[in-house]
């Protein structure tokens, strides 16, 4: 005890010395492995950490905190080892128990890694989990000659004595005349040993020790032969021992010697496979290779000024139906999650700055904000996959989701912006502040390589809280793992660009270059977006029997009237989104053929609407929902077993549509999820009809805010989330060839194809881990795509919406109907409680006038900066130098000599 404490103290001392030495030579331990015009890539061959140096400035970005030995005060042991890892994995055993492994503790320390230099980069292959247990290197029984030749010969004299001390040399020889057999409890000694005895050659043992040793040998043999108890043992089992001197391990080895013994055998080069031979020869139980082995590789490239990190999909290997020899069972250990570079540029407690997460419009988490009693931040990119399990469409606890696969960190004047280029749809963005698990602030991505959910064995498929223990729930997994790559691009930031404005500019530049986005043309007045609600459905008695009937709210003719009225008011840049215009209303029929809703008018009425739109050079976007199926009629193109996506439980996937604002419980009404594999056919069929209408525009309800996998049983039938995303992108590309597109939400993949985005988040989620919401999303898109949030008249924060639109450069957006709002009462659409256009027309016109007076010249300008000037006072700076200052306070504020009244804004023109 005393000695171990002493050795620990020495160790601490050594670490301290090492630290101070490491601090002096910052990049020591690292070797240069690649270099390009701008950057040098280093790798530490001992720990597989990497570092990137920018040649011009000499700044270095580290994959793991280099000052961890000095700064880390909380984590110990395993938690400390994680800090050296580059990859972390999560897997489950057959009993649904979760395990974690990391590249340092479970691969590097076991020396199960390989570093390969690549052109412009480096690859590290890891095997997680020990292939052999340490004990497997040590034979518990071994023939004398073999022991001497293959073990002892390779050891130093000191070790040799130490090892010999751990073994008894025994031999089984005939009993001498008149000698009594040592009786062993539990067996018929005479029958088993017949006329043989065990002779102890190495040292003299008391009778008791002899008995224990023999008993242990027998026990091992019993186990090796697979007998149920010791009395199953037969004389034949002992035959190999006769006249062959063997070494057997002592039964009373001191635990702390074990490690040294294991080490000695490893150093002697004695492999477990040889141990297998030894044990097999003497009927001892065989050591087997561990089944818990996972293979994974990571590649680092220098790509221009960026660091590109790739986890190759084909490097992922996990045990599938392997035989676990220790139990004899077939085992599959699904590798569910991979965390990539969890400590990249992690910030210690002394740094100032923030973590940027793209929550909703974007949000900042201040470094060291001390909110350590909260749960770490974790959110899925592109929102929830509705196919994992039955879930409500409206999540009461989830206000905003993540639309952009980016995240960043600013620590003092240095930082990074990471862009997930591939595999983002299975990704989560994670963030932690110092004090939660260790002393570092960090932000990183994790990936659901195999999506998992808990499925209740109870028959009803209700929303169930699967965390409660009394339920019998089991894990269900996607039938195969994600096979694509994971690619993350790290933009290395320093100096002035290291803030969220800089991150937004860099991401914008990245998108513009990658997708060739073009700027909005200045068209005079800014657009005014009106969403008209065509028809809804409602349960009404028909001849005394309740039926679901379609009720018109705005017919084609009435739409025309509203448009004319707005035109007369001078709104010449009208953008009209027409929702619920086709058969069935908002919850329309399966759109494989396009039919007008009779209750809204006939083809002639629709055409005259189109004519008004065309003559006045307006834009019309009829809205259609492709990914969700509201009605499944007998003779439509939707065939459940073929076109319906599956839950992880393999049942047909659906979404609960209704939301009860009081109880938060789901209602009965649900809609089916279309399998992404059937999307192509649906769009083809849709287009063959829709092309005839000649509208010029198309509004897509879910294509940019839902990505749902299809978890079918068959390995080849599975459409994982990334594949589903690719299906959607293909269709977006195809639709955008002929139509101008308007989408809801605006997941990053849709950005190259759309010209308008509605219901984009203008706020971030109010999770109290976040310290500030920022309009990152808007800063990225302004000048390239028109966007707006919720309709002003129905927005949750309706009163702030005006100011918010000005602050974020979003366009005005109203959702209107011609019919009275009261039509929606007692229907599933009662959340459209202020719908009649006359009710909000005047205030809309008034707002638009003020809006266009300041925004018309700024439509095509990029936002280059966004700052908080005072509490609740924000400025948005455009590329032409114009600044808009918005004051959310009730009282006026004075900024640089400009007085901004309470709840108002001011345009300050830049010098030109």
């Amino acid at each position: 005890m005393l000695s171990s404490r002493f050795s620990r103290n020495i160790l601490v001392l050594l670490i301290v010395i090492f630290c101070s030495w490491a601090a002096l030579a910052q990049i020591s331990g690292f070797d240069k492995i690649a270099e390009n015009e701008y950057l040098i890539l280093y790798i530490n061959n001992k720990t597989t950490e990497i570092a990137v140096e920018e040649k011009a400035s000499g700044e270095i970005w580290y994959s793991n905190p280099p000052d961890r030995d000095k700064m880390e005060t909380r984590a110990r042991g395993a938690a400390r080892d994680v800090m050296v890892s580059q990859l972390k994995i999560v897997f489950f055993d057959m009993g649904d128990k979760m395990y974690e492994m990391n590249s340092y503790r479970d691969a590097v320390l076991n020396e199960q890694y390989k570093i390969t230099a690549l052109e412009n980069g480096v690859r590290v292959d890891y095997v997680f989990g020990k292939e052999w247990n340490d004990d497997d290197f040590v034979p518990r029984i071994i023939a004398k000659e073999k022991f001497e030749e293959e073990v002892l010969a390779n050891l130093s004299p000191f070790d040799r004595d130490f090892i010999l001390d751990q073994y008894h040399l025994i031999n089984m020889v005939e009993l001498e005349e008149g000698e009594e057999l040592l009786s062993i409890y539990g067996i018929n000694t005479e029958e088993v040993f017949r006329n043989y005895k065990i002779e102890f050659l190495s040292r003299k043992l008391s009778e008791r020790d002899q008995r224990i040793t023999i008993q242990n040998i027998l026990k091992e043999i019993v186990e090796g032969r697979g007998y149920y108890s010791i009395n199953g043992i037969k004389h034949e089992d002992l035959v190999p021992l006769i006249h062959s001197p063997v070494y057997v391990q002592k039964h009373d080895i001191i635990p702390w010697d074990k490690e040294d013994i294991n080490k000695a055998f490893k150093e002697a080069g004695y492999h477990p496979l040889k141990v297998q031979e030894d044990h097999a020869r003497f009927n001892y139980p065989l050591p087997y290779e561990n089944v818990r082995n996972f293979e994974l590789a990571i590649e680092y490239y220098l790509d221009g000024e960026d660091l590109l990190v790739r986890v190759p999909g084909d490097s992922i290997v996990y045990p599938v139906n392997v035989i676990d020899h220790t139990t004899g069972n077939t085992v599959t250990l699904p590798l569910t999650t991979v965390e990539v570079l969890p400590y990249f540029e992690a910030a210690n407690v002394e740094k100032e700055g923030y973590i940027f997460v793209p929550d909703g419009s974007g949000a900042l988490i201040n470094l060291n904000n001390n909110k350590t009693n909260l749960v770490p931040y974790k959110k899925q990119i592109y929102g929830i996959d509705f196919s994992t399990q039955p879930i409500r469409e409206l999540q009461p606890f989830l206000n905003e989701k993540i639309y952009l696969p980016v995240y960043g960190l600013k620590k003092d004047d240095k930082g990074f912006l990471a862009i997930v280029e591939e595999g983002e749809s299975i990704g989560n963005i994670n963030a932690e502040v110092a004090g939660m698990r260790d002393s570092y602030n960090k932000v990183y991505t994790s990936y659901e390589i195999i999506p998992r959910t808990m499925v209740d064995l109870a028959a009803t498929e209700n929303l169930r809280d699967t965390t409660t223990l009394h339920r019998l729930a089991i894990n269900m997994y996607q039938s195969r793992n994600y096979q694509g790559d994971i690619k993350v691009r790290f933009k290395l930031l320093k100096g002035e660009e290291t803030d969220y404005s800089g991150m937004a500019r860099i991401y914008q530049e990245y998108l513009v270059n990658k997708y060739n986005l073009s700027k909005i043309e200045d068209t005079g007045n800014p657009p005014f977006l009106v969403e008209l609600i065509g028809a809804i459905d409602k349960d009404l008695p028909v001849m005394g029997v309740p039926r679901n009937v379609t009720v018109p709210l705005t017919t084609y003719e009435e739409a025309n009237i509203i448009i004319e009225e707005l035109l007369n008011e001078g709104l010449d840049n009208l953008v009209i989104k027409y929702t619920g215009w086709s058969k069935g209303g908002i919850r329309h029929n399966y759109p494989d053929n396009v039919k007008l809703e009779k209750k809204l008018g006939n083809r002639k009425d629709f055409n005259s609407l189109l004519k008004t739109v065309e003559e006045n050079d307006l834009k019309l976007f009829p809205d259609i929902a492709f990914l969700n199926v509201y009605r499944d009629k007998v003779f439509d193109g939707f065939i459940g077993y073929r076109d319906n996506s599956r839950f992880l439980s393999r049942r047909r996937a659906f979404i609960y549509e209704e939301f009860n604002p009081s109880s938060h419980q789901p209602g009965d009404r649900r809609k089916n999820i279309l399998s992404a594999g059937s999307l192509d056919k649906l769009v083809s069929n849709f287009l063959s009809d829709y092309n005839k209408l000649d509208t010029g525009g198309l509004s897509l309800r879910y294509m940019a805010n839902q990505v749902n996998a299809d978890f079918r049983v068959g390995v080849d039938e599975v459409i994982d989330r990334e594949q589903a995303k690719n299906h959607i992108v293909t269709q977006l590309e195809r639709l955008s060839a002929d139509y101008e597109l308007l989408v809801n939400g605006g997941n990053a993949y849709s950005l190259p194809y759309v010209s308008y985005i509605t219901n984009m988040p203008l706020y971030s989620d109010g999770n109290i881990l976040l310290d500030r919401g920022v309009p990152f999303f808007q800063m990225v898109l302004h000048g390239y795509i028109h966007y707006t949030g919720e309709p002003i008249n129905l927005a949750d924060m309706s009163e702030l919406q005006y100011l918010k639109l000005i602050e974020t450069g979003a366009i005005p957006y109203y959702r209107w109907s011609y019919g009275p709002s009261s039509t929606v009462k007692k229907s599933e659409f009662d959340d459209l409680y202020s719908l009649h256009y006359k009710d909000t027309l005047d205030e809309a016109l008034e707002f638009y006038q003020r809006y266009s007076s300041i925004m018309s010249s700024l439509q095509s300008q990029r936002i280059i900066e966004h700052n908080q000037l005072a509490f609740r006072v924000y400025e948005t700076v455009y590329e032409n130098g114009d600044r808009i200052i918005v004051n959310y306070n009730r009282d006026q504020v004075e900024i640089d000599g400009h007085i901004i009244p309470g709840e108002d804004y001011r345009l300050i023109e830049g010098e030109r």
Partner: protein, 720 residues
């Protein structure tokens, strides 16, 4: 060995925790950057939650730990004085802080001088500030109420209640004052924890006067039933009759005490009470529901983060008798008007900005609502949106008598939210004041407000009758003359001759119809002469199966007619949700069940009636329902609520009459004597219940079997 090691580590951990909890989490948080974390709604007449615009939005978050007051970590109560100062009392440090309305810290009362010595509060739970600015604190730990001046100087201490009369205090009374309020005259009201006798009342000088407003124990029917059979031991084990305890009180300008009662597993009907000085509950509960918070909530059997009814912990009265109550369970604020209508609700319990984790107290500051969150050590300030403003303004204008403005405001409210049924009531009331009763009725109908509709109708009726008295009289005279003429004509046989001329006897179908018509017509005789009526019905073949079927269908139709067209006041049905099939079945199923069970039973006891006889007799016996229900339904449209007794009397009359007829019908049909007949009828009813029971049992079993099979199937599918 272990203990030695654990000690310092534990202390370190605890001190770390304290540091963490006292660090400012919310300093300078701008809530305008975050989306509001809750939805708003109201309930409609049929208990359905209706989405509504946000009435209040989070505005500011006041963080106590940012103030740097030593040990101030568990604020318990909050009170806003008349001059808009905010007082908060902290349970852990016993300190009181006061802010002005701009949230500048005015002073911190850490201790006070009591008879020359420094005295401190110990775990205080309640604070109240009277109209002069003096502070009352429920000093729970010291079992007293402390009365302080605004600067912390002691005025007096009201200690253990000492009654003037013996026996007012219960035995083993443990005085734990938690909440306190005082009226203008200085009378003090104190809530003591674990006290079920009501509110303790003290006079000006601190003399205990007694208890007022003990929550009444209202055992349900089942409770009474249970009490009958339960043994003493069982009774004592079931705490059925334990009266509930108040959770908080507030007092309005006129001295009415508003008190809240927290709900447990089931909803407390009187969750809010308004007590007059003598302790009587005068709260008006005329809304769609009693003011109990959520009507529609998940039970513990459902999967929800928060289950159970709303549990009120604080109440704050504002102008025009509008009161806000705080639900600790879901972290919601419910605002009711003076009649008990739910105006709006907001808030939720979440770890999000603008939501609360552990709400303990609320009060109003001007039009703002303040909520104290005990866990995060913060006050969340909510400000009203224009929507809530409009509602409050509508009340204000109405009280001031500016009905045009009030109307304007209610119209604005409707523009914001078409689901707001209260707006229609508001519009109706304004119209009433302007003597436009017809319009008022229209609005009250839209607003589902039956009481006000009845008032409007009574005026409207008077007005219409007054205006058209001559017309009405002449119409009545005309009708009387017409009837007399028709009777005379019939006597002369004019109609018979006309019918004769059609030569209906030659057409078999018409003959058939005539015979059915005659058989139906017979019911007119039957209902007044049941004995020989039923005899002839069976033996003289005066009734017929087609006739019975027609009567049955007519009864069904009468039910539909009554359901749809009964006057608004007496008709709580949702007219848009008519389901004829269901209505028909609600008549047909019991009818057929009756016939079937009665038939199977009477065949055993040698009843003489066949199934057909029973069917016909029962159907004929239902005739009074047709005859009375239809005119009643029509008349009900012109009746006001006060005349309801008349309406319900005739409804019951029809039912009782029909029941008598059924009784005699069965008796005559089977030729039973009185006693035997009564027995068969009782047994028939029992048999019907039994069949229903068996039916339910069967369906349950079938469902369970299905579940079982499905579960096995699922397990096989999942495990493979």
């Amino acid at each position: 060995m272990h203990k030695v090691k654990m000690g310092p580590r534990l202390i370190f951990f605890i001190s770390l925790l304290i540091i963490l909890f006292t660090l400012p989490l919310f300093a300078e948080i701008d809530t305008t950057n975050f989306k509001v974390p809750y939805k708003s709604y109201t309930f409609d007449f049929w208990d359905e939650p209706m989405p509504a615009p946000q009435p209040y939005l989070p505005d500011k978050i006041i963080q106590f730990s940012a103030l740097g007051i030593d040990g101030f970590s568990s604020p318990r109560d909050l009170y806003v004085s008349k001059d808009n100062r905010i007082y908060v009392v902290d349970g852990s440090s016993g300190k009181i802080v006061a802010f002005d309305q701009e949230w500048n810290l005015l002073n911190v009362i850490e201790s006070f001088e009591n008879e020359g010595e420094v005295d401190k509060l110990s775990s205080p739970n309640g604070i109240f500030v009277d109209h002069e600015g003096n502070i009352y604190v429920a000093d729970t730990g010291n079992k007293r109420v402390v009365h302080l001046r605004p600067d912390g100087e002691l005025i007096k201490i009201i200690g253990y209640p000492e009654p003037e009369v013996e026996g007012i205090l219960p035995e083993n009374f443990d005085y734990k004052p938690v909440k306190v309020a005082a009226d203008i005259s200085g009378r003090l009201y104190v809530l003591s924890e674990d006290t079920y006798e009501g509110i303790l009342q003290f006079d000006r000088v601190g003399q205990f006067q007694g208890f007022i407003g003990a929550p009444m124990v209202k055992p349900s029917l089942w409770d009474r039933f249970w009490k009958w059979f339960a043994t003493e031991e069982q009774k004592s084990r079931r705490a059925y009759f334990l009266p509930t305890e108040y959770s908080n009180i507030d007092i309005d300008e006129r001295g009415f005490i508003y008190a809240t009662i927290p709900s447990g597993d089931r909803v407390e009907d009187d969750a809010v009470r308004k007590l007059n000085p003598s302790g009587g509950d005068v709260l008006r509960r005329n809304g769609f529901h009693r003011p109990v918070g959520d009507i529609d909530y998940p039970t513990i059997w459902e999967d929800a983060n928060i289950t159970g009814p709303s549990t009120f912990v604080d109440i704050a009265v504002q102008d025009y008798d509008i009161y806000n109550v705080l639900d600790r369970n879901r972290g919601r604020v419910f605002t009711y008007d003076n009649n008990g209508y739910l105006l709006y609700t907001f808030g939720y319990r979440l770890e999000k900005y603008g939501a609360m984790v552990s709400p303990v107290a609320l009060d109003t500051l001007g039009d703002h609502i303040l909520i104290l969150d005990n866990r995060h050590n913060i006050i969340v300030v909510y400000r009203p949106t224009d929507y809530a403003h409009s509602i409050l303004a509508a009340f204000e204008y109405h009280y001031k008598g500016d009905y045009d403005k009030s109307t304007e405001m209610w119209e604005k409210v409707l523009r914001y939210n078409t689901n707001n049924d209260l707006a229609y009531t508001g519009l109706g009331r304004a119209a009433m004041r302007l003597d436009d009763f017809a319009t008022a009725m229209e609005y009250f109908k839209l607003g589902n407000n039956r009481d006000d509709y009845s008032d409007a109708l009574s005026y409207y009726r008077k007005e219409v009758i007054g205006d058209n008295f001559n017309k009405i009289v002449s119409i009545i005279v005309l009708i009387v003359i017409l009837i007399m003429v028709l009777k005379r004509l019939r006597k002369k046989g004019v109609f018979a001759r006309i019918i004769e001329r059609t030569r209906w006897q030659e057409k078999p179908i018409l003959v058939k119809i005539k015979s059915v018509y005659d058989s139906i017509k017979y019911s007119r005789h039957l209902i007044f002469h049941p004995f020989d009526g039923f005899w002839d019905l069976k033996h003289e073949n005066r009734g017929s199966l087609p006739g019975a079927i027609v009567i049955l269908i007519l009864v069904c139709l009468t039910y539909v007619f009554t359901r749809q067209y009964t006057g608004f006041i007496f008709n709580a049905n949702d007219l848009t949700e008519l389901n004829i099939v269901a209505e028909f079945l609600s008549v047909l199923v019991p009818f057929l069940l009756w016939c079937l069970v009665n038939w199977s039973l009477t065949t055993l006891v040698e009843g003489k009636g066949t199934f057909k006889d029973i069917f016909i007799a029962t159907a004929y016996a239902l005739t009074p329902i047709i005859i009375l229900y239809i005119p009643l339904t029509i008349v009900s449209n012109f009746m006001i609520a006060e005349e309801g007794a008349f309406f319900y009397f005739f409804l019951s009359l029809a039912a009782i009459w029909a029941a008598f007829l059924v009784y005699f019908g069965i008796m005559v049909t089977h030729r039973f004597e009185g006693g035997k007949n009564f027995l068969t009828i009782v047994l028939t009813i029992a048999g019907m219940l039994f069949v229903v029971f068996i039916g339910i049992l069967f369906f349950n079993l079938a469902e369970q079997f299905y579940t079982f099979v499905n579960e096995i199937y699922l397990e096989i599918v999942y495990r493979l």
